[in-house]
Symmetry: C2
Subunit: 536 residues, 2 copies
């Protein structure tokens, strides 16, 4: 598979008529954030302060507003009402008001006085460099009161809002504008407790029991396992090396027969556009536009789940080739990224799920959603009566690192570092595949993003092909691999529709976890398992 | 209201026959945990290690097993299946296995090298003392590999299990056994991302659209707001000064008419037994036993939501009385606690929700559930495809504080400190009520636990009583209070059934948040508002 290319941002500005005289400002940049902040008053946001991305976004009155989605919301989501208690918090803005209202504990009783956290200095990102030259971030209990920082333990460790804290939301909103600059006006970011949680919430915002969910034919298994118990069925869309095929999506929807299917026409599409799990496929710019056009035609909501967005890589040049150097500037890095769906989203029909899990640490349990004002408000209502908001420890540590320690520029440097590391891991895995896998039986497309390599196994070469099910051959390969001490995931685990007999054999390998030499050894073992099973 | 008394633990051991020769060991104590740990091998639990409370509990083969609840689980909960990917993790226990399976990132790319956290030394718990004599806990990235601790950042910041981490689960399981020692065998603890989230999950484990939920007539509003959008209706049970009235619960259930109600007989009871929100009521031992007996009669599941369990207090002796001294030993403290429902739970029909929010910090977003093996397994399946587990930052910080820094004994000392502080706050509020509220109109029972005082207002003394709805009088009081710069919550906000016209006037005041002098001033302002509204 060729790596997808990002052709400019390809976005036309909508909603500007000849008679309007807006001077469209340049898109927000890292330097632009610094300049904007220098002109603004310091952020003041106390315990459980109400907030939204509107406090932190550029004003863009020339952009259209998002479409309304009342006809798409589930009965559950439509029934959510604001909490009377949370609503009352607005009275606390009155000067001199004393609250006997909410049961927020006093920070006097939080037994955490100060946290010092050693993190990498910008540009010295490896573990070894951090041990030697890491810098210490200090977080005090009353830093905000003492004027040292807008965020402190007294605020972070109390109750919060379903939007996440203003302090972290500001950074996330700016980051989103720098990266995606959605082409509609009323987009919002909501801090989440990770994309796994957001996905459950988004499914419940739209789906009723009996509905179908549109998704890739091989899909992130956890997403499928989230939807199935809700009584939701899968409508799998075919894939090629650039991911979801828009023509197949259009065919499924155009030919949908409500009576035959026993369900209304599906309208929710779940996709992982970059470094798809499990296939590793990345949709290029034109592919994304084509998918978006089908979504417009059939009035779909698109969930773009993008944990691997920043793990986009340079092309693999083959074993022994000298590696492509990483981007040398922030601009070069940003320009090389395939535009996200939210960047193409003139209608506000995309719910983008972003995550720190793959680029900082899964244990932060922090991510965020980008979505229209109307949908964001529904999500906040759901958060309030479920996860509430991410752990204060996680929010303040991320704020301290991303906002005060590194800033937007330092974070881009970190992402370039991570991307380079994963590129090098991918290359080690692919080199090992070239060396150890029988290419008469195993084939693959070098992934252009993510953590996964999707290995196609030619089942027809199996001595008992035709006499046994492909599923039993898959099982045999898996078991033989385990006996050879390598754990690798059978493709059938990722079938969106588990009731359909598989007609092709795949295995998913990750280059995220094992060290370089162990990875090569693991592929050698897998090659040996294939040779055993296929009696080579 | 008199404070409830704890009469021993009142538990009969079930399941021991004359022919069995078990020597029943003494219940687990703080010293017992220390002795047990000294005899055990050090805990080894790496990244996403599978775990359960069974690793950490006393063996109690003489106790009965929990009843099965297949007939109570929702269609959604019954449909949950273990994840193929998570299941495969069991192969990783094979020595020499290399994983190309799960997409767990390498800790090389977690930019957090070390955390130093200053916390109170045992017995020197105030903010001032902590600033002066606090101790520093150090958490390294590779402490486990280096043999310094069973938990480190490399483990905590990676993906985890739906049970929570083994390290924190061990402490929580031991704590639960010391406190509650459930009288059935197969109980489990599951670490949660806080009780608000667990409650949503538990509702979805049992309830279908159209079902009724049994709850207190004045109920925690967030619980009601969680259930309503699921299409669940409220079946409110009457309250007195000791909380839920078991006879009324029995009557509702005995008289339930499925046809008239258009719903099956309810079987899920949600209660806050200690320091109930909003009424402040605490159920005594005999009351709890009576409620449990009704639950057995009608085969109910009880959700006991207990954020305020450790905020049980000595009786209020009236304004100016010298305060009752706090418990002087751990035993005295533990003996003074009303037994929990889970301590009475011979059938395994209780789901107990515990929380660190009110005793350590809400921003930890960590709590836990105590429930039967069968129900725990269903909850873990749900966690895996929603919240996953609490933030690793929160889990490791709590582990470090509770397990390594304070230990079980130090934590009990902390709880005694917190209890003493809240008792003193309660007394300040009650003193102010005696001083500033017109007792001809406002009456109250001194709360024996929690954070809330429930003020009854005699609406019949209002000049326009009978001519206006009580609701409009409540609104007038609320608005007048806000104009007088005090925020206090109207009782109607907590009506379980919001469609019923209120027939009594209440306001809820918290003594959690404001400082002592501000609290007294706030009550003075509320008294003035009452005087205005009632034209005194």
């Amino acid at each position: 598979m060729s790596p997808p290319t990002a052709v400019g941002n390809g976005i036309t500005v909508h909603g500007v008529t000849d008679t309007e005289t807006f001077t469209l400002p340049s898109p927000l940049t890292v330097a632009g954030v610094i300049a904007r902040r220098a002109k603004s008053a310091p952020l003041k946001a106390g315990i459980a302060a109400a907030t939204s991305s509107d406090q932190f976004k550029s004003k863009t009155p020339w952009k259209p507003l998002a479409k309304r989605w009342d006809h798409r919301l589930s009965a559950e989501s439509k029934a959510r009402k604001p909490s009377a208690l949370k609503n009352a918090a607005k009275f606390l803005a009155n000067p001199g008001m004393i609250s006997l209202g909410g049961g927020l504990p006093s920070s006097d009783y939080f037994p955490f006085h100060q946290m010092d956290i050693k993190v990498p200095a910008i540009g010295k990102f490896t573990e070894k460099e951090t041990a030697e030259s890491g810098e210490t971030m200090t977080i005090g209990k009353h830093d905000a009161t003492e004027g040292k920082s807008p965020f402190d333990l007294a605020i972070a460790l109390n109750y919060g809002q379903g939007t996440g804290s203003a302090q972290l939301l500001r950074w996330i909103t700016e980051h989103t504008e720098i990266l995606h600059d959605p082409p509609y006006q009323d987009w919002q970011c909501i801090v989440s407790v990770g994309s796994t949680s957001s996905l459950e919430i988004v499914f419940r915002m739209f789906l009723e029991r009996g509905d179908y969910l549109l998704t890739e034919e091989f899909a992130f298994s956890s997403a499928v396992e989230t939807a199935l118990p809700m009584g939701v069925k899968m409508a799998p869309v075919k894939l090629d090396e650039e991911g979801l095929i828009p023509e197949d999506l259009d065919t499924i929807l155009s030919c949908w027969d409500e009576k035959a299917q026993g369900a209304r026409k599906p309208f929710l599409l779940y996709i992982v556009p970059s470094g798809q799990n499990p296939t590793g496929a990345t949709q290029g710019t034109e592919r994304r536009k084509a998918v978006y056009t089908v979504a417009q035609k059939h009035d779909l909501i698109i969930i773009e789940d993008e944990p691997y967005y920043f793990l986009q890589m340079d092309p693999y040049k083959g074993p022994g080739a000298s590696p492509v150097p990483p981007p040398s500037t922030h601009d070069e890095f940003l320009q090389a990224l395939v535009p996200s769906f939210v960047k193409l989203d003139v209608d506000g029909r995309v719910v983008r799920l972003d995550s720190f899990s793959k680029v900082l640490a899964p244990g932060s349990r922090v991510g965020w959603a980008v979505l229209s004002q109307q949908l964001a408000e529904r999500m906040v209502r759901h958060n309030e009566v479920s996860v509430q908001n991410p752990a204060g420890f996680a929010q303040i540590i991320l704020f301290k690192l991303l906002d005060e320690q590194w800033g937007h520029g330092g974070y881009l440097d970190w992402l370039i570092h991570i991307r380079t590391e994963y590129t090098s891991r991918r290359n080690v895995l692919l080199d090992a595949c070239h060396k150890y896998l029988p290419e008469s039986i195993v084939s693959w497309a070098p992934p252009a993003a993510g953590m996964f390599l999707w290995l196609h196994i030619d089942g027809s070469k199996h001595p008992e092909f035709g006499k046994r099910s492909l599923h039993s051959i898959e099982q045999e390969i898996f078991q033989t691999a385990v006996e050879n001490k390598v754990l690798i995931s059978p493709g059938s685990w990722f079938s969106a529709d588990r009731n359909v007999e598989i007609n092709q054999l795949f295995f998913r390998a990750t280059f995220a976890a094992a060290q370089a030499d162990a990875m090569a050894e693991a592929i050698k073992r897998f090659g040996a398992a294939i040779a055993q099973v296929f009696k080579l």
